[in-house]
């Protein structure tokens, strides 16, 4: 986890949404709330910077006080007093429960199967949840060179489930990604079971307009829930494949007053 999603989602002004003035919220605030609700109390979460960090700290402040935050930098049980800018921020260390080497993070925690939830983001996501964080265009002669996999490959493989955070955009949500940095539910035609990948993969894709979820049989991402006031056509406009829509479509609740208060006062989102 790193700042990939931050680069993609967090760096432009959010328009304010919501009905009444006192409950107005930004798109990022809604995404943070939606992601936080996916986390259960006591779970062990591999945290990234940006929206995942907001979501984890929001969940700790609301329904999941026993969430264990682990950063790939080696901080275990972090309680940052400020919003960390990087996953190696010193505030993740001060007052944490444990600091270990990165060899231990990847071997004893991640590969060991101790991580219950991982967050992923990326420049390109395909219909099976495969992610490209490596390069746009040809790998050897890229049009745009992206940062690369970082820890996302092994998070995608070993976390018991992952949450993908990405804003809808036809250039991002594509039939096929140019490069598979992190495997989804089917990679180059092979299922996770076939590839002997232990984790369940991306159970939810949290976008700025809707939640996508994988079809249990095919592994294809489908529209599972809409944000308040969003139409199916608006979602389809941001997706580069023929999106399936579930029959019983959930509607996501707007952020509650308590969620917004916690997000703005405790988590200190600016």
């Amino acid at each position: 986890m790193d700042t990939r999603e931050d680069e993609k989602t967090g760096r432009r002004e959010d328009e304010m949404l919501g009905g009444r003035e006192e409950r107005a919220y930004s798109g990022s605030e809604l995404m943070a709330c939606v992601a936080a609700r996916e986390l259960r109390d006591g779970e062990v979460v591999f945290v990234g910077i940006g929206l995942p960090n907001l979501a984890c700290n929001l969940a700790r402040r609301t329904h999941a006080p026993g969430l264990v935050l682990i950063y790939e930098s080696g901080a275990i049980g972090a309680q940052p007093e400020r919003l960390p800018v990087s996953i190696g921020d010193p505030s993740l260390v001060t007052g944490s429960l444990m600091v270990c080497s990165m060899a231990d993070v990847f071997q004893c925690f991640l590969q060991n199967g101790r991580i219950e939830v991982g967050f992923l983001g990326g420049a390109q996501v395909d219909r099976f949840g495969n992610i490209n964080t490596t390069a746009i265009g040809d790998y050897a002669s890229p049009k745009v060179r992206l940062p690369g996999a970082g820890g996302a490959t092994e998070i995608a493989i070993h976390a018991k489930r992952t949450l993908i955070i990405a804003k809808l955009d036809r250039r991002a949500f594509r039939e096929q990604v140019d490069f598979i940095s992190s495997p989804g539910h089917r990679a180059r035609g092979r299922s996770r079971a076939d590839l002997r990948i232990p984790g369940a993969g991306p159970t939810r894709v949290i976008t700025d307009k809707a939640i996508l979820a994988a079809n249990a049989e095919t592994g294809e991402l489908e529209l599972a829930a809409l944000y308040p006031g969003v139409t199916v056509d608006e979602v389809r406009a941001g997706i580069g494949w023929e999106l399936s829509v579930r029959e019983s479509l959930e509607v996501v609740a707007a952020p509650s007053a308590e969620e917004l208060r916690a997000l703005r006062e405790d988590v200190k989102v600016e």
């Binding site: 700290n57 001060t94 944490s96 429960l97 590969q111």
Partner: protein, 310 residues
């Protein structure tokens, strides 16, 4: 964003040794009580003997007096190890009687120290094997067919392998932990971290239960995170006759005395009758030897402090 020990999932991890053993150590388990000379949890072994666990596969680099007692008490059917002597004092005679019997009454699976360390490392990393450059020219791979080899995909060289060791339960003694099992150890670390991460269940036994703020003040000292710990037992002097750096010294006279005790099967049983079956728990064991505290309590040798500020 601070706010107390919000990581604890439950406060009920802190239990008595009796309850920890009753709940987490079962007949037939693959059991590890680790600690290389340092922090060997005799208190747990004695409780396991009292509760008459049977058919255990005992694993340790150095079976030491602790497993000699458990073998003598009839807990074990198999031993996995790398050096079975009484350091500085002689033999482990209960072990020797069992292995030298015709036929042997104890099965063994034997590695070198590096091999045992590698087995725990593989277990902790959930890899099925661990590679090591070892065993060439020795008879160990003949004696133990679990020692195999692999061809390096870069150099073509043959590299030895050992299989992962993933115990059912691992017991680790430590200087201190919080109520959630976040555990700090200093001095010799042995293979405790690897054994704990390799294990299905983990019991931590500590000299001192501390507030989470003590752990959080020095997170680099944490060796085992609470998230992999099932039970926390507070048992001062629980490692005697081994030692706990900063708390009490090794009882070398006891180790020396074990040579004569263990050489005589009847005397060994008398020892168990008096000091294991004959006491209710570790507290009574300590109470009945008041000179231990006077003789072995550690002098202070302070570490100095560092700052974690930013």
């Amino acid at each position: 964003m601070h706010g107390g020990n919000s990581v604890s999932r439950t406060a009920s991890k802190v239990v008595s040794m009796r309850n920890a053993v009753a709940q987490h150590v079962r007949d037939g388990d693959v059991l590890v009580i680790e600690g290389f000379t340092h922090l060997i949890c005799f208190a747990a072994a004695h409780e396991i003997i009292r509760q008459k666990r049977r058919n255990l596969t005992l694993c340790r680099l150095t079976p030491d007096v602790i497993y000699d007692q458990m073998i003598a008490a009839g807990c074990a059917t198999k031993l996995v190890f790398s050096w079975a002597g009484n350091p500085g004092a002689g033999s482990l005679h209960a072990f020797r009687r069992a292995v030298e019997a015709k036929p042997p009454t104890l099965a063994i699976e034997e590695y070198s120290h590096f091999g045992m360390v590698a087995r725990f490392s593989a277990g902790a990393a959930r890899l099925p094997f661990w590679p090591l450059r070892d065993y060439q020219g020795t008879d160990l791979p003949v004696a133990n067919p679990q020692i195999r080899s692999i061809t390096c995909p870069y150099t073509g060289a043959a590299i030895a392998t050992v299989p992962a060791l993933n115990p059912d339960v691992t017991i680790v003694h430590a200087q201190r932990a919080d109520a959630d099992g976040n555990t700090q150890i200093w001095g010799l670390l042995g293979v405790q971290k690897e054994a704990a991460f390799a294990s299905k269940r983990v019991i931590v036994v500590v000299e001192e239960l501390v507030d989470s703020s003590v752990i959080r003040a020095d997170p680099n000292r944490t060796i085992i995170p609470g998230m992999i710990v099932d039970a926390v037992v507070v048992e001062p002097w629980g490692a005697h006759p081994s030692y706990a750096q900063g708390c009490y010294d090794r009882d070398n006279p006891f180790y020396t005395a074990w040579e004569a005790i263990s050489r005589d099967a009847e005397r060994l049983q008398s020892y168990l009758d008096e000091w294991v079956y004959g006491v209710a728990d570790r507290a009574e064991y300590v109470r009945r030897q008041p000179q231990l505290v006077e003789r072995l309590t550690a002098r202070r040798a302070m570490s100095g402090e560092v700052s974690y500020g930013y």
